[in-house]
Symmetry: C2
Subunit: 346 residues, 2 copies
């Protein structure tokens, strides 16, 4: 009776003098066709009334919503937009909507977002840099929704598909590079120490030292969080403590950017006095001055990959390699000095 929400399949049917089933068939391009005549007629009034099928109703009828959930720690962190864009582009192409959620690296908020998406009956979820513990995720699997992980691989049984950079090899590469260049005291400034990724990166740092037979000075290892501010702060900290160092490795580009800024602020030249290497290769690395040397993984492509995998799973297809781990590359820009053997590392 009410003219409210535009119109329904019933109204179209009535106007065209056909049944709802017929209308449904035409809007779905149903294989067992509809007569040319009627199809035309239906299409015409759909156009006239600017009718749009109700996706919710469709969802309850078919029990799939054509929506997927994407949870990241923080949209406004410079690291995530490219990943978000990667999944959105893919999903848009296949007609899926994406519901976004921020976890703020907080397990409770992450759980909240995940559950909220279950309520929305998303067809699948992509969880980025998840901070949930094994137990929650294991429980969560009960909801039986396809789950893709990017940037952190838990136990493989906890997700249907995952992709992550090899953190250990990443920081191993950069640390080795620094060491081979003659640096003996390289500082490591990590982000949130609790996260799996952080620990792996630190592990790479340690391994590089072991490989080179250089003892590790614990006083050279600082931890805080993955922010520019923390980078600044850490530099002040180490400088004020008067410890000597030749180079700085960081847990993220954001940290590195803060580090470089503060180093410069304190009158220390980069890379002449100290070399700095970041981690992630976010876009920002090329706009800062000097452009940052860093460890790179193809985030956008990783996002597209996981999207594709997830979709296959949603469609009940077999995925060949559900869990992938990608080799990071050293990207040498201007916060490190040029060396003759640079090419060996990239």
């Amino acid at each position: 009776m009410s003219e409210k929400h535009g119109c329904s399949i019933a109204k179209i049917a009535q106007i065209c003098g056909v049944s709802k089933a017929t209308v449904s068939r035409v809007i779905n391009n149903n294989p067992n066709g509809v007569g040319e005549e009627t199809r035309k007629r239906v299409l015409k009034t759909i156009e006239e009334l600017k009718y749009r099928p109700n996706s919710l109703a469709r969802g309850v009828a078919t029990s799939h919503s054509n929506m997927i959930g994407l949870v990241v720690p923080d949209v406004s962190n410079f690291f995530y937009p490219k990943i978000i864009r990667g999944v959105m582009d893919y999903m848009d192409d296949v007609g899926y909507s994406v519901i976004l959620g921020n976890s703020d690296y907080n397990p409770e908020r992450e759980a909240h977002q995940l559950l909220h998406m279950i309520d929305k009956r998303v067809d699948g979820i992509i969880l980025c840099s998840g901070v949930s513990n094994h137990e929650f995720l294991s429980d969560f699997r009960k909801y039986d929704v396809p789950l893709g992980l990017v940037g952190r691989s838990f136990d493989h049984s906890l997700s249907d598909t995952s992709i992550t950079g090899d953190n250990i090899r990443g920081s191993l590469k950069s640390t080795s590079y620094l060491i081979r260049g003659g640096n003996r005291r390289v500082v490591y400034i990590e982000g949130n120490p609790g996260l799996a990724g952080s620990q792996q990166r630190l592990e790479g740092y340690r391994k590089a030292h072991r490989d080179a037979g250089i003892p590790i000075c614990e006083e050279l290892i600082l931890s805080g969080d993955y922010s520019i501010d923390y980078g600044r702060q850490a530099v002040d900290d180490i400088l004020d403590r008067g410890v000597k160092f030749d180079a700085i490795m960081t847990g993220s580009d954001l940290i590195a950017i803060g580090v470089v800024a503060q180093l410069q602020h304190r009158g220390i030249r980069v890379p002449e006095d100290v070399e700095v290497i970041g981690f992630d290769n976010i876009e920002l690395t090329t706009v800062v001055n000097p452009p940052l040397s860093t460890v790179s993984k193809p985030h956008y492509q990783m996002a597209q990959h996981i999207s594709q995998q997830l979709l296959s799973i949603i469609n009940g297809e077999q995925v060949i390699l559900p869990h992938m781990i990608v080799e990071p590359q050293l990207v040498l820009r201007n916060t490190t000095r040029k060396r003759s053997y640079d090419s060996e590392y990239c």
Copy 2:
């Protein structure tokens, strides 16, 4: 029969030996209560079965989805994440989900996203920096979904609520500041020339000149798009054409960042040789070197404001001031020289 999607209200009802209505009442905390006994019992089995109400079904029954749509030009453009975060935070607090869409400044894609959200029966839409023309938007209103605009105010009849910075006053302020500082030839590098915001900003630039009685040199006005790359390119362009200038105003911070980088690259010092002012005050402005002077609007707060307005409208409440326009502020950092009268401008 199938054990697939967890369970429904019916199953809970059956197990507890009550009617679906009763279960519905408890999950909705329905005012006209349910007996303590039964409530407890229902809650218990809900917990045990990890039942989660189906939001889609709810949506079709109540005809509101508890979702809103947010379309921006590009999530991965540094300008938008803060706005996105603003609306997400607000919506999260009130239990709404947000579906995101990218328009890429493309009217067709924007229309596509908007329509897609209609299909999803979002309860409201926030459109950011919209590029749709008057006609489309006017048509779009037929769908009768609450619409909030940020960053561009069309004819007020085209949205239920809007908020935008005063572009004219913004660039008027910055240009006047530059002129008062003795600059006679200030370049203006704008973004996409078609957009309303671009034109307004340019208008402010012109007005500042008229006010100061300084003729405008058209050769000092360049246009391209809102990117770092274009900033670089524009600098090359103007330098190569050999035109003289004292200062540069830009249509966005991104452009300004490119400008500063390229100026430095070409051996021109900022701000000693030429002063530069950006527009927007995105986070990036403080991480580049030197930190960028710019024109600021409180994006996060604007996003929260529009979210609140939209929600009021969704709830059928009266909004007092649906259309707002906020006064931008000059933020003087280090790409401009210090002056004795700086405080007058901020």
